[in-house]
Symmetry: C2
Subunit: 337 residues, 2 copies
């Protein structure tokens, strides 16, 4: 590993708690710049301590307010065996605006409440178009926060696309947020994030339909949850099974957060007791390694291509004189010669 | 290309209008089986005629009912210069249920209305875990329908994740569906699909808040839409600009569909006049080619690895004796030797 003075100083400053250095590092990671990746590699042995919590749900469920509220509660909590209050990092992933960088507004709204607290660090990611892909970049940012000494890292994602599922897979604990009146059972199946939930929350519980929503979720859980075990392709029969709680909150009034906090801490305990913590750690690393390898393979391929070759072959595909499969074969042969 | 009798007969039967053969082909494509991909390559010269329409929006917007209604209208329409009614294919992409195959229920609900019409073919995709990735598989299925002679292909996607945006990019016309009361402007920015919309629809227009929703969308469009041109990384200044219409529908009652149909047909005309049709075609092919190449690169890499090597290196990463970057380097060097 080539070490530059600049990135070593960055690492030192991040470890010393310098927030500006941390912000700079996260930008470098987001842009996949060599300096950032080298710093991240140096910080890597310091990682593995933070509790990563994924918070996901459709737009309109009040997820951001919930995260805001949760951060305050985590800051006030003193879990067993810990003296100081928890340091909390937030990574808000906005798979939105591919072109106009939708994270800026969210950032400002979010920061208003939490700024000034040195035990909190919030990062919004204008994720689309990130060179290394959403899941990979988010993983890097979370790792940097981990190394920087944040005890809990909340990873907030919007929606229920594949990217969100991938991100949830890398969290230790996944909280799925819904709201009353967001749709019937079929819609909930479509949202398809039930399977990845460790804790289900019906937010906006002051709205009508809250009890119905909770009952419906409970019924769906009982109906046919294949079990988180399937994530890894094999059954885990170590320790007692985790029973997914269905909770309700009113984020705007801070109601229901004692239960939510309790659920999160209990799930952490469960993961430690059952061996699930290590398994999820391995899953995260597996995904990260796979993503890295994919990236490098593509880079190497692109380097091997003569200028204009790709466009030339693409033209033939558009004209239908070559099928995409033949075109791929032709370009890949190029690499081998 | 190795040609087996089986896949050649499949191609013949699909071209002859055999629905069972088509269903079988789509399954083969979904599972990325060699037979299906060979058939698709043979069918490729027959593609390029269908109007691909992406229909996307969050759960709860009544998208499926809208698609259902739209299919009926398209079947009844006789656009200028066309004598027979349009043949319509539907690809419903459910990025949901990674583990339990959430498409089954949707399928049944959907088919109830449309079955019996030989000019309609509906395919629901239980997309997660598809070997070739969502966008790539959907592209293959749409191409097969195109070759099979369907004039219009509706591609319905849920949510606003990266996969959905990728799919929308491959459509000629993208219809974004919202509903009143699904959230305020910030939420709409988060949904982040405004930028990819060619037509905006507020569905469930019998609910209160419809006019507000339409006004908000209109305001956001005026505020700072970067222009679809940015999709390709360069400005298009050929022909007149497309002005995104904001329409409203009540799908359950079939209201508003004259305007929607009109908008869709006008957009098709616009694409033909402006050269946008060819540009989007090229974008689709570029994305498909990129996805194929990525896939093959990963396959080749995996073939090159000795058994157990990946797990061995992964273990070191989990133990923090190797960083993911060092691990990736080690595994990639393996390939070169």
């Amino acid at each position: 590993v080539r070490k530059t003075k600049v990135h070593m100083r960055l690492v030192e400053n991040v470890l010393a708690g310098d927030r500006l250095a941390l912000a700079r590092l996260l930008s470098l990671i987001e842009n996949q710049e060599a300096e950032g990746l080298e710093a991240l590699a140096d910080l890597y042995p310091r990682t593995g301590n933070a509790h990563m919590i994924g918070i996901t749900g459709a737009p309109g469920t009040g997820k951001s307010t919930l995260v805001n509220q949760l951060v305050r509660r985590l800051r006030a909590a003193t879990p067993d065996g810990e003296e100081a209050s928890l340091k909390v990092g937030v990574v808000a992933v906005d798979p939105s605006s591919p072109f106009s960088g939708g994270a800026i507004l969210g950032d400002r709204i979010r920061m208003r409440d939490l700024c000034g607290d040195p035990g909190v660090f919030v990062r919004s990611m204008a994720s689309r178009g990130a060179p290394g892909g959403l899941a990979s970049t988010t993983g890097g940012v979370a790792q940097a926060l981990d190394a920087a000494g944040f005890d809990v890292i909340l990873i907030e994602t919007v929606g229920a696309g594949q990217a969100e599922v991938d991100i949830a897979r890398t969290a230790h604990t996944t909280v799925v947020v819904t709201a009353p009146g967001m749709g019937d059972e079929v819609q909930a199946i479509k949202a398809g994030i039930l399977e990845i939930a460790d804790i289900l929350v019906v937010n906006k519980a002051d709205l009508p339909g809250t009890e119905n929503a909770m009952r419906a979720l409970q019924a769906m859980l009982e109906m046919g949850r294949p079990g988180k075990a399937d994530l890894d392709g094999e059954k885990r029969d170590v320790g007692p099974a985790w029973c997914v709680p269905v909770l309700c909150t009113i984020s705007t009034e801070g109601k229901g957060f004692d239960m939510l906090l309790d659920g999160i801490l209990q799930h952490r305990q469960y993961l430690h007791d059952s061996g699930g913590w290590g398994e999820r750690e391995r899953e995260r690393q597996r995904a990260a390694l796979n993503a890295l390898i994919r990236e490098r393979l593509v880079e190497r391929f692109l380097d091997s291509q003569p200028d204009g070759k790709f466009e030339e072959v693409l033209e033939k595909v558009v004209e239908r004189t070559l099928s995409p499969w033949q075109a791929a074969r032709e370009l890949l042969q190029q690499e081998n010669t």
